[in-house]
Structure formats: C-alpha cells, structure tokens
C-alpha cells in the first residue's frame, strides 16, 4: 500500500486545511498547488472535498519540478547585484 496520495488543489486560504485535518492525517503542501496527504480514508476525503485532482507521484513530481525550474529561471534572469547569498537560487524539491 502506498504511503501517500498525491494531488493538486488550490489553497483557498482560511479553512483550506483545518487543525482537525492536521491531527487526522499527514498533509504537506508543495509548489504548483501539489499536496501530499496520508493514504487513508481521511486524507482521501480531504483531497476530494477540496476538488483536488489526484496525480501519480511522477505526475506530481513533474509539476513541482516545473514550478521550481520556473523560479530558478526567474532567479537566473535577475541582475547580478541581486544574486547574493541573501537571495539564494531556488533548489530542487523531491516529493516524499
């Protein structure tokens, strides 16, 4: 049994995930509106209730990678003076 469910859902702000949700199942947000939730009934119900679109892990990883690469491209295009240690280039993200 897979440990996690992968999907996309738009974070609508307050109430999108509640303290009760956090107590009930694993939940973590990533770039490109990708959410990783525990593979149990409550996690699956949450994703469905948020009009989420379930993805395979590979599909979710591709979305995250594309978003990170866009951020990296934006950083690469910055003037040299803004590319300081205090404004580091976004790093790659690997989903669990």
């Amino acid at each position: 049994m897979a440990l996690f469910i992968y999907g996309t859902a738009t974070n609508t702000g307050k109430g999108f995930f509640t303290a009760e949700d956090r107590r009930a199942f694993f939940l973590r947000g990533y770039p490109a509106d990708v959410w990783v939730v525990g593979n149990n009934e409550k996690g699956a119900t949450w994703l469905a209730e948020k009009n989420g679109v379930e993805k395979t892990k590979a599909e979710a990883q591709a979305l995250v990678t594309a978003e990170v690469q866009a951020s990296q491209a934006a950083w690469d295009a910055l003037p040299a003076e803004e590319k300081t240690d205090m404004n580091p280039r976004p790093t790659d993200i690997t989903l669990p």
Binding site: L3, G13, G15, A19, A24, N40, M86
Partner: protein, 592 residues
C-alpha cells in the same frame, strides 16, 4: 467551625453550571451548582490504588480493554511461558480462553477490548524463536489468523483495535518496521525514525504513540508516518505499561537504563508535554497496561527474581482536549519571503520582503481570516527586522534597492502609513527585533553579528552584545525582558542590560517569535515546532503543512501564532497555530 470565606478569602460562588476548568491553576476552587443542587470543587486527583492480584503472576503478556473490563493473555510465569487469559471486572481477575500459541513478549500496549482483543508477535516457549502469529479474542476463545506479521519479532509495540491495529519496533535485532492490520492481513508501512525494542504503544491505528524503548524518545504516528514528539522526562526501557490515546496518554513502570533499576513512576501526556504523576506502589518492568489516561490499569510484571501479580488502578480527573496544530490561514496578497511582521494571530502585520523578482514595499494587515493591503514602506526591502503591533510597528535595517545594498533605515507604521524613524546604529540585514515601536530591541544580523541596539521611539543606542552572534534569528518579549533564539541552538534572555544564555533549542534551524519572553514559539522550514515556557524548549511534534526553509515570519505566542511567507519557492501561504488544550472535570463534595 471556620467558614470557607475566612479560610479562602472569597465566598463560595453560586453558579447555574460548572465553570470552565482549563488547567491545574483552578485547583481548589469551590462553588455551588444551583442546577444540580450540589457543592462542587476541582480537586486535581491523581492517584494509584490497589486492585486484586492476578491469579497467575506473570510478565510480558498481551493487554486489551479498560480499567473495569480488561484482559491479559500469555506471558511468562516463572519459568515457563503460558497461554492462559485472565479477565478483569474492575474488581477481580477470572480465567478466560487460552491462546493457541503459547508465548510471551507479545505486543506491548493495549490492543482491542476484553471481548474483541488482538495479540500478535512475541517469543515462543523455550527454545525461543520470534513469532509473527496473530490471534483474535471474542471474550471467550482465541482464533488464529492464518496471516502472520510480515516481520516476526518480540518486544514490539502495539496499538489500535482488533480490526485496525498497528505493530511497530521490536527485536530479534532492534527494528523500526511498522505494520498495519486491517482485520485480516498485515501491511508494512512507514518505519519508526528510531528502531528499538522494549517500547510501548498507545492510541489507534491512525493516531498512535511509540513510547520509550531504551530512551526518552516518543514518536507520533499520523496514519502515514512517524514524527518525533515531546520526550519523556525519564528514560524507559524494559516494557513499561501504557494506557490512553495519542493525545491523552499515561505510561508507567519499566526499567531505567542503563542498569536494572525498576521504575514505579508514571508520566501523563496531554498532547503537548509529559508530566510526572504519582508513582505506583510496586516498581516493576514488563508489566501490562490498559484503559485510559484518566482510568488506567497496571498489572503483573517482573520484579527480579520473581514475577508480580500486583494490580493497581490509576485515576485522574485531568483530561486532555486537543493536540496543537498548524492550520490554513488566509493567503497573503503578495507572495514573498525574507519579510518582517508584527502583531498577533488575529491582528497581524506583514511588510517588506522579496517576491522572487523584486523587493516588496507593501504592508498587509491580517484580521484572523484574511489579509488586506495597508500602507507602503518608503523603502522597499527584504531581510529586514520588524516588531510592534498591527497599528504601531517598527521596521529597521535590511537590503534596499537601487543599488542593492544593506541599510540602517528605520520606519514607523501607525496602522495606515509609514514615516521615517531614527536610523539604526548598525547597517545590515537579517537582524531581529522585539518590543514596541517606542521601546524596541534589535540584535544580530549577517554575518552572525552579536551587537544589540535599543530604540526609544526616535533614536537607537547601542546595548550590550549577545553571547552568541546570530543572523536570521527569532525573538520575543520586550526591550527589558527579551528573548533571542534560532540560527543557533543557543537561546539568550535580555534584562534591559545584558544577555544571558539559557536552555537551548534542539534545532538550530528554527526561528520564530513571541509576544512574551516566557511564551515564544519557534518554527523551522520542514521541522517540528518548539515552544518556550520561560525555562525550557519543548518539541511539540507538530510541523507546518507548507514548509519553507528560508524567510518565513512568525508572530504571536505559544497560545496563538501566525506564520506567513517563505522560500523556496516563494509562497503566499499563511498558517495559524492552535495550541493544545486541557480540561478538567469537577468533583462533587459529599459528606461522610
């Protein structure tokens, strides 16, 4: 006869319903409940009392049920292992059905009930071998399930019910393997962070605790993965007992490693911290526990060289409410990181930062559910410091544009617009501030500066230096009672004159904030949240949902905090911290 008023200094209150009793600070209150017609009080009763002995002294049996309807099965009764079951009525133990497989050192931790129990794993009667056998109890007989644990083992932890159980840890050699049971078969799931044996479990298949082993480690299971949570006060080994749930648990007995010292003490968990509670009458290891954190049962165990038949009942009227959690707040209008903030969870302020392509001048105000734009700072900047309230904030230092350079500019916010303040005596970025707009405190900065400065509403003056230079740290408190933490594990307090090192954070990556020197909260990107009570940091075992490793900002206290922004990549995410809650139940005063 003395009257209550002359003793307590107040009159007995006349109430139509019991007041909200949140913690032990309300201990001793007395009132008259006119609805029930009774005198009531809050007595923080926590005590062990003796129950009747087991019929067969033994250790390392399977346990199930409650304080007044419990059962144990199998175990070692010197010198042989046994297959017998005993059932507890709340008064006496009577014989139940026999296990099909004689064994000891099975799942440690209550699994199931007296009429729907489950036992798994363990060690066979000598010559010993580790077992994966699983059996179900219906209140009179045991039925073997043909499907064994995938990993045969002994001295493992267990939690859950007959149709939804969890097995974790154990040994031939200490293992981290976790398996989930659906009533018919076992599935291997995510492993413990720390493989170990002689631990004890509590809770359910989707919300369990793995307690102790030869350590103070406690791990929390959310149905998918284990997270390290607040540690025990004392190391436990040798099969302590436990009862209760993931957020309301009791552990008792065991052995104190290294060595052979037996433990009689117990610790109660409220979802946030472990508190030492009264000790059992009989110190012992490899005992069995069941019930709840308010009504627990300890029985059997090993008191070398003999086995124990002693039964003890624990009762407490301290109950747990809910576990702390980060939940979604309204999203920032402008995604950004390396920003600053001020205020509280319900009246927060975010300002400055970097959008990923430009420095941000905008301030945004939070009302507890959504952000709205406030006034723009005169100087857009990031890696600035901020403090104060939503309507009286202070911004200082940071990186400013055109050309990009570090600044000492200070600006003051009045709830609608920013005006210039006195320039900071230090030019630089990544510092931290606390206090108010007219009594502010600023310290540190890149590259790990140790200087501190005080603001009086118009100008900055140099203060004493930190013991540990730091950049991008967290802060809390006031100008005369401040707290600096993060970027390093070292934590320091400020008394208006000098900095003093106090107890450390466990995670140097943490930063955060707090309105009080005694109630700060520290948050890391992917890590767990730690809370400060004025003396110690406690790991809550609770992580944010949208982790970012750089440039988040946190306002508020351990009771109610707000986290917003961060990178990489840049986010507009906001999360709200809700602390764990406690509740107590009132007792009725009677005459005797």
């Amino acid at each position: 006869m003395a009257e209550y008023e002359s003793i307590h200094g107040t009159r007995v209150r006349y109430l139509t319903s019991d007041p909200t009793l949140t913690d032990s600070s309300t201990e001793g209150q007395v009132w008259y409940n006119s609805t029930s017609g009774t005198n009531k009080t809050l007595v923080q009763l926590k005590a062990w009392s003796s129950g009747n002995n087991l019929n067969t002294a033994r250790r390392a049996s399977g346990a199930m049920g409650t304080q007044d309807a419990g059962a144990i099965a199998g175990g070692q009764a010197a010198p042989a292992y046994v297959n017998s079951t005993e059932e507890y009525s709340g008064y006496a133990w009577t014989a139940g059905g026999n296990l099909n497989t004689t064994r000891a050192f099975v799942n440690n931790g209550t699994v199931g009930t007296q009429t729907a129990g489950l036992t798994f794993g363990g060690e066979s009667n000598p010559p010993n071998s580790d077992l994966g056998a699983t059996e179900e109890y219906d209140g009179s007989s045991w039925t073997s399930n043909p499907t064994n644990l995938n990993t045969a083992r002994r001295d493992l932890g267990g939690a859950g019910i007959q149709t939804a159980a969890l097995a974790f840890g154990g040994t031939s050699s200490p293992t981290d393997v976790t398996e989930s049971y659906n009533g018919s078969s076992w599935t291997t799931v995510n492993s413990l962070n720390t493989g170990r044996a002689s631990l004890v479990g509590a809770g359910t298949q989707t919300a369990a605790l793995a307690i102790g082993g030869p350590s103070t480690v406690v791990e929390s299971w959310n149905g998918s993965s284990w997270t390290n949570g607040p540690s025990l006060n004392f190391q436990l080994d040798g099969g302590a007992g436990a009862s209760g749930t993931q957020t309301n648990s009791l552990t008792f007995g065991g052995r104190k490693p290294p060595g052979t010292t037996l433990v009689s003490s117990s610790e109660q968990y409220d979802g946030n911290t472990w508190v030492t509670t009264p000790s059992m009458g009989t110190a012992r290891r490899e005992l069995m526990g069941m019930g709840t954190a308010q009504a627990g049962l300890a029985t059997g165990g090993f008191t070398p060289p003999s086995f124990s038949a002693a039964t003890e009942e624990y009762n407490s009227n301290l109950t747990s409410g809910t576990r702390a959690a980060w939940s979604a707040g309204g999203n920032l209008s402008t995604a950004r990181y390396a920003l600053a903030g001020a205020g509280t969870q319900t009246a927060g302020l975010a300002f400055g930062g970097y959008s990923g392509t430009a420095m941000v001048p905008t301030a945004e105000e939070y009302n507890g559910s959504s952000w709205t734009n406030g006034g723009n700072m005169g100087t857009a900047r990031y890696r600035l410091a901020g403090n104060g309230t939503q309507t009286s904030a202070l911004a200082t230092r940071g990186f400013a544009p055109s050309p990009v350079s570090q600044t000492n500019i200070t600006e003051e916010y009045d709830g609608s617009s920013w005006t210039g303040g006195g320039n900071n005596v230090i030019t630089g970025s990544s510092s931290c501030s606390t206090g108010t707009q007219t009594a502010g405190l600023n310290w540190g900065g890149a590259p790990n500066l140790s200087s501190s400065q005080e603001y009086n509403g118009s100008s900055w003056t140099a203060g004493n230096t930190l013991n540990t230079g730091r950049s991008g740290s967290g802060g809390a408190g006031t100008q005369t009672s401040g707290l600096a933490f993060g970027n390093t594990t070292d934590t320091e307090t400020y008394n208006g004159t000098s900095w003093t090192s106090v107890n450390s954070l466990s995670n140097s990556a943490l930063s955060g904030n707090g309105a009080l020197q005694t109630a700060a909260i520290a948050v890391a990107g992917p890590g767990v949240t730690e809370t400060w009570d004025g003396t110690n940091w406690t790991s809550t075992g609770v992580s944010v949902a949208v982790p970012r490793g750089d440039g988040i900002f946190v306002v508020g206290t351990t009771a109610a905090a707000l986290k917003f922004g961060g990178n990489p990549p840049v986010t507009n995410s906001t999360e709200e911290w809700t602390s764990s809650t406690l509740a107590t139940t009132a007792s009725t005063l009677t005459t005797s």
